[in-house]
Symmetry: C2
Subunit: 314 residues, 2 copies
């Protein structure tokens, strides 16, 4: 039986953020797909008209970029240990590197390696051998880096046709957002919890061959958010989306996201993505907190780098 | 200062799953990146030797596939409302569709649309116009589907060079796993919580143009897990990874994942990905549960489809 036109006319309800009522929970107090059939049916009757009726006209695109970096509170004097670069080469290049802090115990400044790595990556962006391949850019930048240290790194390169190529080593991250939805997300790579893959000055580290290589097709109006783990450990994806939706200016969006991450990082009661992940891995709060019935919560204090890129037509 | 060779010799520690001690939590009881510098340093000293020393030799690849479907307990008689197909065309094709249950209230069997959609997709796999593009496959399969109804859908097509192309409409999902790490993950698309994007027989639904289109480079030994939301709402990524690591046989892995999802779905105390997401969106438990200090927990009862594909050399 076809859905009536009356329902089709109720298009506006679909994008409201009204909370669902408790009828979605079954009498067994488990979530039951059948008990929320009305909610799913809403999609039948309330979704926006088929975009096939208004096909996207593709034109050449590039990034409009805003950036913001908040150093770890104890590392403000030297600007933290994150580094990044942004280039307008081709459709635009965004790269973030996060220095591994453990090197400080070896009397090595952990910021040196990621900064040189990013400087080298910036130099090689137009290199013929790189051929606009982010994995090869990582290989050449890594090979040219002589500082001692190690870093996680992500490189994202936009082609003018809208294809964004990504190479990622470790736990920096990228989200692509379209119409209030995350349509693409990188996955952190790690040896174990809190021990990410990383490029290193030493032979024991990872290389470009260990990068996760992926791509996603972007269109005008899409937004990417690239950052160090200081962002993604402290801010949920739905918070990233709502912040992007609220701030159309990319510089303001980057600043707002970095400030949100910083506020959450310093909030010992905030149930952050990092604390959720820790609990799901079986970590528990200190004994005194456990005795009081308190759970493991809190943000993660870290350097926070945020780059926001909006896809605009040329 | 260089890391000593002695540390390089301690390679084996890096892949053990030993829990971190509580020193990762700072005195403020927030997570502090500086307080876990030793953990990050472990990666400097304990990671596996550079894979550049043992470059991956690329040969043509394809999928070895195992599948398992557990219908919603109330829909067992008709086999549930999920549908899928697997093809060995080129490097291999995996597709899953999840029928929208709300159609039952319109006296429409919600399983008809996804089943016809999958049958049509299967027929068009080798179509010249499709040209091994999953988004075009969705377009043609959708256009050929005459049943009334709607469905979420994901199509993943492996090229023999290891590039996996993915088109996704809604909240089916895919994870790519390499050496115990999720290296790639799709993102669900939704209008709002529990209201996913969906292809429909009606003009108000989404189309192939609304698909999130992405790709990831896979190598021999990688594993993909493709499923309906019945899997991903009930099983965390780290559980998917550990299940894949435990079961080298793809059929056994698919069965184990489906059973895990089913057990979690029926467990009203399990803190599922779905309940976590609901809480992060501000949903609360029924009042009586709230008064007793109980939180919103439970799995989500649903059809569960799991397809596991291991990348093998030809």
């Amino acid at each position: 039986m076809a859905i009536s036109m009356l329902r089709v006319a109720t298009i506006s309800c679909c994008h409201s953020q009204q909370p669902l009522n408790h009828s979605i929970y079954s009498s067994l107090f488990t979530f039951d797909e059948t008990s929320k059939k009305n909610k799913k049916k809403m999609a039948v009757s309330c979704s926006s008209p088929s975009s096939e009726l208004n096909p996207v006209i593709k034109s050449d695109v590039s990034f409009s970029v805003g950036t913001y970096l908040i150093p770890h509170p104890k590392k403000v004097d030297k600007g933290g240990e994150d580094a990044f670069f942004v280039s307008n080469y081709n459709g635009g290049v965004v790269a973030v590197a996060d220095g591994v802090s453990g090197w400080a115990e070896e009397d090595v400044d952990p910021s040196l390696f990621p900064r040189e790595l990013m400087a080298n990556a910036s130099n090689f962006v137009g290199d013929e051998e790189v051929n606009y391949d982010p994995q090869i850019l990582i290989r050449k930048a890594h090979a040219a880096t002589s500082s001692t240290g190690s870093a996680t790194v992500i490189v994202a390169m936009l082609e003018k046709n809208g294809i964004l190529k990504i190479a990622n080593v470790g736990d920096c991250g990228l989200r692509a957002i379209r119409n209030g939805n995350v349509i693409f997300s990188t996955s952190p790579q790690e040896h174990y919890f809190d021990c990410p893959f990383q490029l290193s000055s030493e032979r024991v580290g990872q290389t470009y061959l260990d990068a996760a290589v992926s791509s996603v097709e972007l269109i005008e109006g899409d937004t990417i958010v690239v950052g160090s783990d200081g962002l993604f450990d402290n801010v949920f994806d739905h918070e990233i989306v709502s912040t992007i939706v609220r701030h159309r200016n990319v510089a303001e969006a980057a600043k707002a996201l970095a400030n949100l991450a910083s506020n959450h990082a310093l909030d010992s009661n905030f149930d952050s993505p990092y604390s959720l992940e820790a609990r799901s891995r079986g970590f528990e709060p200190p004994l005194w907190k456990k005795i009081l019935g308190m759970k493991l919560t809190g943000g993660k204090i870290d350097d926070i780098t945020v780059v926001v890129g909006e896809v605009v037509s040329l």
